[in-house]
């Protein structure tokens, strides 16, 4: 390796290390200034959460990859739309992924919507719990699953079909042969109960 190439690599490495120390919100400011290295750090921080959500919703790796790629490209190209007063970068990223996955589901790219994938359970590799933050996130996920799990089945089912399955309230009503108003009411009751439990557990404020 030439001295020039070695120096370039050293500089890039130092820049990358400095960027990793920045908060998401500061990185987004750099992304707005077309800084690809800052974008790479945002991607690395949130890609597993994004892919996990897309995979849960779509159930197919190839489609989940496409959803995540589209979501991050959208983030790169519309970084200026991020507003830190309206939530964390993580929530914003996952919101984009959720919307993209719903688009994919409603475009009919996925068969057996709403069904958890059977595409190789062995592929569900848990990310290593390397940092304290990741441990916290795992605990948080457990709390949220628990809050969903204690709901009456008719409430948790409509919430899961809507959020993870991408079904509309009308589709769920037809599927369960239940009036639309009842479906909406169950969604609302379920979310309110979850809110109460998650507030008690200090997962949300």
């Amino acid at each position: 390796m030439s001295d020039m190439a070695r120096n370039k690599r050293t500089t890039e490495s130092a820049t990358s290390a400095a960027l990793r120390r920045l908060a998401d919100e500061d990185l987004m400011q750099l992304v707005r200034e077309n800084n690809a290295a800052a974008f790479a750090v945002v991607y690395e921080r949130h890609t597993n959460a994004a892919f996990s959500l897309a995979f849960r919703m779509c159930g197919k790796r190839a489609i989940a990859e496409e959803v995540v790629q589209e979501a991050f490209l959208s983030l790169w190209r519309s970084g200026a739309h991020y507003d830190r007063t309206r939530g964390s970068v993580r929530t914003w990223v996952l919101g984009i992924v959720h919307n993209r996955a719903i688009d994919a589901l409603r475009r009919g790219m996925v068969q057996d919507r709403g069904r958890v994938s059977d595409e190789g359970i062995e592929e569900r590799v848990e990310a290593a719990e390397r940092t304290e933050q990741e441990v916290d996130r795992r605990d948080e996920a457990r709390e949220i699953r628990a809050a969903l799990g204690v709901l009456p089945p008719e409430q948790s089912r409509v919430i899961e079909l809507a959020y993870y399955g991408g079904f509309t309230h009308a589709e769920i009503a037809a599927m369960l042969d239940t009036p639309v108003g009842t479906i909406k009411g169950r969604m609302r009751l379920g979310l309110k109960k979850m809110r109460s439990q998650l507030r008690n557990a200090q997962v949300i404020s």
Partner: protein, 240 residues
């Protein structure tokens, strides 16, 4: 104290849960957003339930992203960053295949064009392998005081696309006309006539024999166009 604690309800509060879960049809969601603008009770309800819905995103089993996704994504991002940051040098960048994507590139292209610099870009369909070559060429825009107009001319084979941003509307009773210039010969008219929106944006495309064309010009002409330019050009884009 909240609206709910006051016992106040809106008849559309049940829509709040379906809305935050993404379970409304698009037109229903649009209508509900309009309703939210004027209903503090529903806004409060959405605010409370949104945090719960958002939390569902992180409650899933964690799966590690495939390694190759990062490389694919960063190839696109690095290419676009190079163009956006250089804006003025020749650069090869991936451009999205689908209409509407990559809009963020336009200001940079326009700025580069306004600086009188040609840019060659290769269009790479994301996730696919097809490539087409688009040449974005010099555009000098003469705009009146108070306007900061820019223009981009793309040449794709025998097809030309002109896109303007921030242009004033042509004077009343007139329209912009596109001309092709070959060397020192008089400009030849095209059937490409256009105006701009109230915000100054406009675009026009034309397919023609572009052999020997050295420049694309735009003048404002009487409605219907002219056989010969009656005004000096407001946009000049040199193709060679």
């Amino acid at each position: 104290m909240s609206w709910a604690e006051h016992g106040l309800e809106c008849e559309r509060c049940d829509d709040a849960a379906a809305y935050v879960l993404g379970a409304l049809e698009e037109h229903e969601a649009d209508a509900y957003r309009e309703h939210l603008a004027g209903c503090a009770i529903c806004r409060e309800e959405v605010g409370q339930l949104q945090a719960v819905a958002d939390s569902l995103a992180v409650a899933v089993t964690r799966v590690v992203t495939p390694e190759n996704l990062r490389a694919r994504l960063m190839a696109v991002v690095n290419g676009e960053a190079e163009l956006l940051n250089a804006a003025g040098y020749e650069a090869d960048v991936p451009t999205p295949a689908r209409r509407g994507r990559g809009w963020r590139l336009l200001p940079a292209l326009a700025a580069a064009a306004a600086l009188g610099v040609g840019i060659l870009i290769g269009a790479l369909a994301i996730g696919g392998g097809s490539t087409t070559t688009t040449r974005v060429v010099t555009a000098t825009v003469v705009s009146p005081p108070g306007y900061r107009a820019t223009a981009v001319v793309r040449r794709i084979g025998s097809h030309l696309e002109l896109e303007v941003v921030g242009m004033p509307a042509p004077p009343r009773g007139r329209i912009y006309e596109v001309w092709l210039e070959r060397g020192t010969q008089a400009p030849t008219p095209t059937d490409a006539l256009f105006s701009v929106t109230h915000s100054g944006n406009g675009s026009v495309g034309l397919s023609s024999d572009l052999n020997g064309v050295s420049a694309v010009l735009v003048t404002n002409e009487p409605l219907g166009g002219s056989p010969k330019p009656t005004r000096t050009p407001v946009i000049v884009a040199h193709l060679s």
